[in-house]
Symmetry: C2
Subunit: 228 residues, 2 copies
DNA sequence: CGCGGCTTTGATGTTCATCAAGTAAAGTGG
DNA sequence: CCACTTTACTTGATGAACATCAAAGCCGCG
């Protein structure tokens, strides 16, 4: 039994610990730290030593780095289950990117040593972790390639559809990032992102109320994302 | 002792099997298949079921996919130790990219089931594999971002320096890919790649003799790669 | 209230893709 | 081995896509 631990109700448990026995989970949970972050908080700063195993329980975060020319570049946007620091947690001793929450978020921090022990003793857990890591990396690589191949309107459409289909599950949502951040994600200037959004509005594909976006012509949007 | 197996001399052994006992290695090697590919051969075709664990022993290969507009897109170029199919081997049942050799290459194919068994029984092996996978994914993601942030001259310089510093370890080398393939890698047109190379030649940064490239002004090339 | 950052639009110039046309190299069948 | 075909390479001209610069309105926050 897992005592003194609300991990029982944690929806991550099944996914992350699908192959771990109750005793191990209990040990792990007794050392866990749950932290809440307000929107815009720094969760991880580039250069920090990787000492923990962090995963995102609730919210939305951006992973980014500073390019040689001093601009922020968003590597990816992660939602729960896209474990925040799975990237490079095994390959590096320090973070080479920063993580900031885009909306109020909750992380669960586990002891890295315990995770390493689990890997060494529990083969099924290792296998699951390998699969998880592979999936996340694949997703980021594919996303990066998909974005690269598109022109500006296609890139903006891609991002909007990403939020609609994979984050908010609705055609109407509050953009969790600024126009500037969209630009930093898709590698264009802020002005052109705005211009493209205005075009979409003029073409009656979306409605804009500040940060609130409503996609009214999904078909056309998908078409632009694919062939724009 | 490892009998009937030239794996003894294989320089991969220490890296890949650093934590595996002799008995396990022997079992693994008895089921291995070593295959040689001429330049330009298809090693993996998109859509194939992933049944084996392939790694590149010798040579150079390109991983690519076909974009929705029908163009080839090179995801990355892999050299020995950048295990060919580590990408998505654990996350997918089929390849979602193709692999073709750029120069004469040799792969070593291991039984996937045996690898899975090793992961389950040998924690140190799992840990090593996690590290290896993480490193490779990180590299591809970083490379993709680095390329994306640059303008044309910067991208071409980046590629040339990649070949010089990380593949051939020389300022003079035979380009293993065509101008068209460079374009497919960095996301530009063939014409502009050629134009940029010609510019470099006019500026006395490189010399070009067909496929043979000689970088004569490394300093300037590095500067273009960083700030071009 | 006023400062700073975000947003928006327009004007301008740069970068890059596309089209066209020609040369060189490399493979192919007789 | 040579004529033939195809593919790779190269350069120029043109227009489209995009960045940059500039200016003004908006909004939140101390």
């Amino acid at each position: 039994m897992i005592a003194n631990c609300n991990c029982e109700k944690c929806e991550m448990k099944d996914l992350f610990f699908e192959n771990v026995g109750a005793t191990d989970i209990e040990a792990m949970c007794s050392n866990k730290t749950e932290t809440k972050y307000k929107k815009g908080s720094v969760i991880v700063e580039k250069g920090q030593v990787i000492e923990n195993f962090i995963y995102l329980k609730k919210g939305l975060v951006k992973l980014f780095r500073i390019s040689s020319s001093g601009k922020e570049q968003i590597i990816t946007i992660a939602k729960p289950l896209d474990f925040v620091n799975l990237l490079s947690v095994f390959s590096d001793s320090c973070y080479n990117y920063s993580v900031v929450s885009l909306i109020d978020s909750t992380t669960c921090i586990l002891d890295f040593k315990q995770i390493r022990d689990l890997i060494k003793t529990n083969g099924s857990f290792s296998m699951g972790l390998l699969r998880k890591m592979s999936t996340i990396s694949d997703k980021i690589i594919l996303q990066s390639i998909e974005i690269r191949q598109r022109h500006l309107p296609g890139r903006v459409a891609f991002i909007l559809l990403y939020f609609a289909n994979e984050v908010f599950y609705s055609h109407e949502f509050d953009l969790p990032i600024s126009r500037k951040e969209i630009a930093e994600f898709i590698g264009m200037t802020t002005e052109n992102v705005i211009r493209t959004l205005s075009e979409f509005r003029k073409d009656k594909i979306i409605k804009i109320y500040g940060k609130l976006i409503e996609i009214i012509d999904i078909k056309k949007m998908e078409q632009i994302s694919l062939h724009g």
